[in-house]
């Protein structure tokens, strides 16, 4: 059987039983629920610190009504962060490399922000389609452009996450294949490629965290315009 570099992205399957659900439900299990104690263990303390940091960061620009979204945005952030970071371990499966999963996350949430805006403040939310101070002749073209930009947002959200993670994993696989293949032939070049691999892994850790953050940040921005 020929090796295709995209084989690492196939959903895991054990004897015909798809394991996607298990791999999706594993990351939430890593977060212990806080017990009724004043001083908990170090893991719970770290987790609470992280949750406070994320919630404060996301909720500061939002008004009172936007705070209803705190739970879903923070849990989405934790989920994406965990899934992305766990995918960097060897042999693991990253659900966020599947476009279907990212679109399933992005599209309903974006639609929710859009419908919230259209329902509660329709003229203000439609007013976002025309930036302030545009010259009059440009108005029709600009409204068209802004509408397209609005409608493409869920696609952009999903594809951004998918593409970044897929590209990162592919690069890691390609470079590690090159390293192993070069080892018997030119060991010095192999060492050089190992250095590149180490730097790339550090980059991938950063990208994993940044992409999760960007996804949730953009959603909160879309919410700010509409709530």
């Amino acid at each position: 059987m020929n090796l295709s570099f995209f084989d690492q992205f196939t959903s895991p399957c054990l004897m015909g039983i798809p394991l996607t659900l298990i791999s999706l439900m594993f990351p939430p299990l890593l977060f212990p629920s806080p017990k009724n104690r004043w001083l908990t263990n170090r893991l719970s303390t770290l987790q609470s610190w992280l949750l406070h940091l994320i919630t404060k960061q996301l909720m500061t620009p939002l008004n009172q009504k936007g705070h209803k979204w705190a739970l879903i945005l923070t849990s989405l952030m934790m989920l994406l962060l965990t899934i992305n970071l766990l995918g960097l371990l060897p042999y693991t499966f990253t659900p966020t490399t599947q476009l279907s999963m990212n679109m399933a996350l992005a599209f309903p949430l974006w639609l929710a922000t859009l419908l919230t805006g259209l329902r509660n403040q329709p003229s203000a939310s439609l007013g976002h389609l025309l930036p302030e101070g545009t010259p009059t002749p440009l108005i029709p073209a600009l409204i068209l452009i802004e509408t397209i930009s609005l409608l493409i947002r869920p696609l952009a959200l999903g594809v951004r996450l998918t593409a970044n993670l897929t590209a990162g994993h592919l690069l890691i696989q390609l470079i590690s294949t090159a390293t192993i293949a070069l080892l018997p032939i030119i060991p010095s070049i192999s060492i050089l490629t190992t250095m590149i691999l180490l730097l790339l892994t550090i980059l991938e850790v950063a990208v994993a965290m940044i992409q999760a953050y960007v996804f949730v940040l953009l959603l909160s921005l879309y919410l700010q315009e509409n709530i």
């Binding site: 084989d7 895991p12 170090r42 893991l43 371990l89 060897p90 693991t92």
Partner: protein, 84 residues
């Protein structure tokens, strides 16, 4: 005490099939067993006063091994790298 109420670590090897027969294998029973196992792992390695990276690292290493096992059929067919 009676066989059904002893923990797994206290059961002798010869009594293992009998102990397994007394287990509750309904979905609720299995779920309760998983919860108990997770609870004892958590209390022993993570929920300690001066914990470190060891508790979570063992869990993640186990996850890597599990994923390797799940992907074995696929990985073993790669021909150009020798053996896996």
């Amino acid at each position: 005490g009676p066989l059904s109420e002893r923990r797994l670590m206290d059961v002798k090897l010869g009594e293992l099939p009998a102990w397994l027969a007394t287990c509750d294998v309904s979905p609720q029973g299995l779920l309760a067993g998983v919860r108990k196992a997770w609870g004892s792992y958590y209390d022993k390695y993570i929920n300690v006063k001066r914990g470190g990276p060891a508790g979570i690292s063992m869990l993640l290493a186990g996850y890597c091994l599990l994923s390797y096992g799940w992907n074995y059929q696929h990985i073993s067919k790669i021909s150009f790298l020798g053996s896996v």
